[in-house]
């Protein structure tokens, strides 16, 4: 499942670039991504019985290329070197979210613009989406399970 989630994210990075030519319509793609992630988690639990926590762990492993630079950027005061490379990697990795950024308010928190805060933290949040799908499937299964 880690591989599938990882490849799906890579596919979205590649797809986003031509989709950005569609202007504001490009913002549909991130929502589609969220939907696919949710359904993926849901179906994995329903058909293969993969527990929600395993789906969550798979999600975090697949997001490591965003989590590692995100961690370094969030703890930048601890490091004696520049973090430009990590900023660049985080930016490229979160490409699937960029169509949404023009819709965000131009707000700044603690000297960090909102869009960059999203870029840095997104990899910590994205794994929750397939896990939520798996959890929903788990709850539904439990609800309709016949009493012993």
């Amino acid at each position: 499942m880690v591989r599938n989630l990882f490849l799906l994210h890579l596919l979205l990075i590649i797809l986003t670039l031509p989709v950005l030519y569609l202007g504001r319509f490009s913002s549909c793609l991130p929502f589609l991504y969220v939907l696919v992630l949710f359904l993926m988690g849901l179906l994995r639990n329903r058909t293969m019985g993969i527990p929600p926590l395993t789906v969550l762990a798979a999600g975090y492993l697949s997001q490591l290329p965003g989590i590692i630079p995100g961690f370094f950027i969030l703890t930048e005061d601890l490091w004696p070197f520049g973090l430009e490379v990590f900023e660049f990697i985080a930016q490229i990795w979160q490409t699937p979210l960029y169509p949404l950024y023009p819709l965000l308010p131009h707000a700044i928190y603690h000297d960090i613009p909102l869009y960059f805060l999203v870029t840095v933290t997104a990899s910590f949040i994205i794994p929750l989406i397939p896990a939520a799908g798996a959890w929903l499937s788990y709850l539904v299964k439990k609800m309709y399970q016949p009493d012993p």
Binding site: L20, G23, P113
Partner: protein, 204 residues
């Protein structure tokens, strides 16, 4: 073993492509032509150059007193991966330049920030005062907007430094990009017939 062979073949192809890109880049410079961006990026990667290069520890002493609103200010360093100048900003008056970085988005900074580049220049756009005023106003209106290096030219909500300046003047009917490629590089402004380079300075 088969996987290892595939990785090895891919590595060899990549290495040869990077070397070949350097040859193509040299060919363009020999003909006194500006190489395409993809050639520059591959060639720079082959030399181990990524990003905007190493900043200088001493000032380049660029004369900032000539700046007028609407002027373009450029900076570059050795080891930059996409041309001579790797950063651009537009002077908007009151000692403020609209510029941007990955982690800051579009923001205002002091023009002296360009003193830390190894080389810098000021370009004046051949435009009437009204066109300059509108371009400046558009750039100011984008302060706080997101930075995204891969955004296509047609997208008007995601920016990189030279794209915002190019777009602001394009809205006034002035196309500052003579190369017409996927990216508008800062170097495009130096080659543009609509830009007169007023000042150049370099750290010695």
């Amino acid at each position: 073993m088969r996987k290892f062979n595939l990785v090895l073949i891919a590595a060899v192809i990549l290495f040869l492509s990077l070397q070949f890109a350097q040859l193509i880049e040299d060919h363009f410079y020999d003909k006194d032509e500006y190489p395409p961006t993809w050639v520059q990026l591959l060639s720079s990667a082959g030399k181990g150059h990524f990003g905007i290069g190493e900043f200088s520890s001493t000032s380049n002493n660029l004369d900032l007193s000539v700046l007028e609103p609407g002027d373009i200010i450029l900076g570059g360093n050795p080891g930059g991966s996409y041309g001579h100048y790797t950063h651009a900003g537009i002077y908007v008056g009151n000692n403020q330049v609209v510029t941007m970085y990955t982690s800051t988005g579009v923001r205002l900074e002091h023009p002296t920030a360009y003193h830390r580049y190894h080389w810098a220049a000021i370009g004046r756009v051949r435009a009437n005062p009204q066109q300059k005023k509108e371009a400046v106003s558009y750039c100011r209106s984008q302060v706080g907007a997101p930075f995204y290096i891969l955004s296509p030219k047609t997208e008007d909500g995601l920016w990189y430094c030279s794209k915002l300046i190019w777009f602001a003047y394009l809205k006034q009917g002035i196309d500052l990009d003579p190369f017409n490629s996927y990216w508008v590089l800062p170097d495009a402004f130096v080659y543009s017939p609509y830009v007169q380079v007023l000042e150049r300075s370099e750290v010695h």
